[in-house]
Symmetry: C2
Subunit: 333 residues, 2 copies
Amino acid sequence: MANIKDVAERAGVSVATVSRVLNGRSPVAGTRERVLAAVAELGYRPNVVARALRTARTRTLGLVISDLRNPFFTELADAVEQEARQLGYSLIIGNAGESPEQQDDHIRTLLDRRIDGLLVSSAGTGSAMLGEAVATGTPLVLLDREVPGVAAPCVRAEGRSALTELAAHLAALGRRRPAVIVAPAGTPVGDERLESFRTALAAHGVPLPPERIGSSPDLRPEGGRQVMRRLLDLAEPPDAVLATDNLMALGALDEVRARGLRVPSDVALVAFDDVAWFAHLDPPLTAVAQPTRELGRAAVHTLLERIEGREAPSVLLPAHLVRRRSCGEPPTD
Amino acid sequence: MANIKDVAERAGVSVATVSRVLNGRSPVAGTRERVLAAVAELGYRPNVVARALRTARTRTLGLVISDLRNPFFTELADAVEQEARQLGYSLIIGNAGESPEQQDDHIRTLLDRRIDGLLVSSAGTGSAMLGEAVATGTPLVLLDREVPGVAAPCVRAEGRSALTELAAHLAALGRRRPAVIVAPAGTPVGDERLESFRTALAAHGVPLPPERIGSSPDLRPEGGRQVMRRLLDLAEPPDAVLATDNLMALGALDEVRARGLRVPSDVALVAFDDVAWFAHLDPPLTAVAQPTRELGRAAVHTLLERIEGREAPSVLLPAHLVRRRSCGEPPTD
DNA sequence: TCCGGGCGTGTAATCGATTACCTGACCGGC
DNA sequence: GCCGGTCAGGTAATCGATTACACGCCCGGA
């Protein structure tokens, strides 16, 4: 592959001039054209590696995602990638698969590659490498999940208003015994969603007793199914269940069906994260939709602010309720 | 961040010695330990960018995936990433979103970054940049989709045996009017699947007339739904439908339900690509499962062969039928 | 005692760009 | 006619590693 020296020789100028032409600096018309002609003839493309070494900027961002196979995170990763590319950055995606060790492994690799900035939707309750990242001075922005003790802005959605709407929706439909399937203990988002929902229900005089709150062992269908099993075995089983993650909701739905029960007539089901598939389930699932694309966009912008040395606050975007048929009402559209 | 010179000074040796210690060459015990101690004290990590410039190897692979939001490709990307990482390579994923322009954009960027090798599951019928990649001498391996005119090995699954099994399965269940929803015209995999299925059906004396073959305008649910609409409007509607992609199958299912018909009693439904969600649909979908993990693994290995300058043949792995309930039989397990 | 070989380590070139600094040409004003 | 300013463009240092080559030391054999 041709390098800058080849171009310089062909155009009869020095490498400095070639570099200046390509970076839009001084040269005059005649020289400029000769250089551009040489570039075109040789099919020259600057070596990004060499440039990165010299300028100490790789124009690459890193994204460590907690679980790429969870469709919510797939969408989020896609949104981040698109925004990054639009702004001239490449993105290296690492999938932690909900394992803190793999997450650390990825962060380590990304730091070694001298990425300009790092986005992390942390698996588990955080990890040692996050501190290391901050220590090296690599700009860091947390995505979707807050990590206690890590000094970095966090970009995520808040469910308060959507859950308020949901509580009203359920109350209007006469559901009086709600239950919640929450993420494994210690996940901050899960706790927040639970509390918001409890508060919203209370406003309608509907209680949320401890026995109708189940913590799933994992963020996968099987975990959701286990909790749903326990809930349906209750002497007074719930008439509406909110799962705080889309995969857990799927497992919960499996359990309902396995018992020959029906959604929504026997029990209403609502999920967090409105993934594309929900519209194709039977019945289509009512869901709290996070603004995925905006989250990705905001995350990249926040990170770029930090890369350019500016302070950047955390971002909280509102989620909203998408009413479908899993609570017993016809869809609004 | 500390560099190799800092380590050398601290250990009282030259940079060459540090490099040799870190790369497992000559130095003797005493020196070696002093260097390692200095490395530990300074928290030194080699600068991958500088190393890549010098050695002309980035230890990075590129993957351009046709549509990251299609769960089949998400799984495939995940499989590729895991295998690459295990072998000491990072992976940069680019999502083409089924657009040849975006695909070219990504390939361009990846070549500029001097990745060691490129994996592409090409969107559309291929693109100009694929030729460019070959021209630069960057090792290239095609994934899932063959591209005519591009001289590169292709790693994919073949459905012949699974479709033979499927034809027998359908025949045994008394389905005599099969139909197929194929990918947009010109997609080689789609054509192959269609022909394999036709041949397999013929062995059971079941015809597949042209009016029961519908080509979808895209690889998304809406396209599948449109074709299904046409099929169900036929004077003699099909009693079994095979969709050659998982998203088209979803749309087809929507149409069946929208008409108040049932799967499998009114029409059987089978999809290509066994994505995790299929098991959670109602009824769980029978599917032709591609060996995703093995495909990813084989793709990375094939690419590494080429990177090391060896010839590598194309790889064809067998898909297999996963029987669930969407054709009318209870699941085998 | 001297010489050769092997081994450990240092010196410096190199990868391909960017960029600070310098040079020389040209022009205008006095 | 001389001097200073402007500007295009060249020279060379630099980023942080790897590695060819050279050097010096030590040891063994003649």
